[in-house]
Symmetry: C2
């Protein structure tokens, strides 16, 4: 069991920290929200008053923050993790952030002799609560092995994707494909609806054909064919459109930074921006069927 | 065994007619190419000199033609199928054409008391030769049942998609999703390449995650992860980029005609146009990796 500092107790971080405490780790938690701190205490964690106090003397520091700016500030800012952590502390950043910042913060940590893993997750709020997240991890193999127990106590799978930044890269690549295939599926259903092809028939044909994809066969954006998909509960998330938009913007940022072409990713980001602007950011991302096709 | 007229002996129609002859049907074949007629004779078919002669007195007429204009002309033109066919002949059009023309030709046939099925295929030239095509069929259930034996002798699956035009609709909807997911996969590999994430690692992660799709897991556009995919033979088809572009244009036409939104389909059509214009129309459609990512 490890002595763990946990920074960022939001919708994801809160239940993740709770699962670490439940597994028997000594968890010292920090967030700027008093309410989040109270929940952490109820879940069995100690709480700290500052980032530095959270980081000082821990074996492992886990962070779960909204974006690259917060990650950079929490680690590198005045009174940040790097100003307080003991030698040998392992840093695990579970935030989904841009690849460039992930690498830069890991590089700064490395200058001080620390290992920092980028370990973004898939599985959403439900997976965080159930402890069934999948971690896509970038960093040195030795550090990944050191972090495996702690990550395993928050999830069901820990995948070493490669060097620093590879976890973020794997996540945005996956979610780029997911968004594009989801919109493609919605376009197909919208066309089928208007041309009189039954939804269940289209599902039955495509799910056994070359258009098969997870967005169709596990998360069908029209109600009926996949009973547990968010489309059957008026697109209650699940994984929100706002979160998908965030990931698509990270993918675009990574593509631009690396000189890669991502024309469908750009169009998907534009479509999710329109969908969020129309007031549906809190809906599940499959709810874009309402705009692309004709949702129920 | 049926007395079948077969019109259109191209890369697809040639082997389909041969499979009907091999199954023991009496096949009378027609094409404007003397070479195609000779091949049909070698495969055991009789040949005719005109469309009308091919259609006259048959139980079933099968057509496999390039586009809606040819289908309309062959059925409704002077000396066409409808001018010569006996009452009760079943028409099966296996061409991939626009939904509007498919429905219009079927409606004209129905005025004369004939049933016409739209029965486009998936499976490509290899499936046509091996007799493993999948037929997506639009038309009355009774007519589909009448055609099932003949279709079954050319393929492995006969799916009744719905009323007239539903076969074409199902096919373009499937291929729309296929094209969009294929390009999304290429974008992800292109980004991963430039950000230093190994291709096999991206494949391993996404194939078990929410980005899973047939385009990745059965037809991977980079060499290695799926050994029998065209990417491993320098994108020799398979299913050509030119054929995919044709289907995407049919999808756009159907969407416009029906008032459906298909923004990613439109972008995919533009990208396949660019790829074909760049000289790669005869490559497998997964070869768009050369343009989107960085092909080998």
């Amino acid at each position: 069991m490890a002595d763990i500092g946990f920074i960022g107790l939001g919708n994801m971080g809160g239940p993740m920290a709770a699962n670490l405490a439940k597994a028997g780790h000594a968890v010292t938690a920090f967030d700027i929200s008093a309410e989040a701190l109270e929940s952490a205490r109820e879940a069995g964690a100690s709480t700290a008053k500052t980032v530095a106090e959270t980081a000082a003397g821990r074996e492992v520091v886990v962070t779960m923050l909204p974006a690259g700016a917060e990650v950079s500030e929490v680690y590198r800012g005045e009174g940040g993790v790097l100003s307080a952590a003991a030698p040998g502390t392992l840093f695990i950043d579970c935030s989904t952030i841009d690849v460039d910042t992930a690498r830069a913060v890991a590089a700064t940590a490395a200058e001080g002799g620390w290992a920092l893993l980028d370990a973004p997750v898939s599985g959403g709020v439900a997976g965080a609560a159930a402890g069934t997240l999948t971690f896509m991890v970038g960093g040195e193999a030795e550090a990944v092995e050191r972090g495996r127990t702690v990550l395993g106590d928050m999830g069901k799978a820990v995948i070493h994707a490669g060097a620093s930044g590879a976890g973020q890269t794997a996540k945005v690549c996956n979610n780029l494909i997911l968004a594009v295939s989801m919109i493609g599926v919605c376009e197909a259903f919208g066309m089928a609806d208007r041309l009189g092809l039954e939804r269940q028939t289209l599902f039955d044909i495509v799910s056994k054909a070359t258009g098969q994809c997870w967005a169709l066969t596990s998360y069908c954006p029209v109600p009926g064919p996949v009973p547990n998909a968010p489309s059957n509960r008026d697109y209650a998330p699940g994984f929100t459109a706002a979160m998908m938009l965030k990931d698509l913007r990270l993918a675009q940022s990574a593509a631009a930074s690396a000189g890669a072409a991502s024309p469908l990713g750009a169009e998907a980001a534009a479509l999710y921006t329109l969908f969020c602007n129309a007031g549906f950011g809190a809906d599940d991302f499959s709810g874009i069927m309402k705009m692309i096709g004709q949702g129920d």
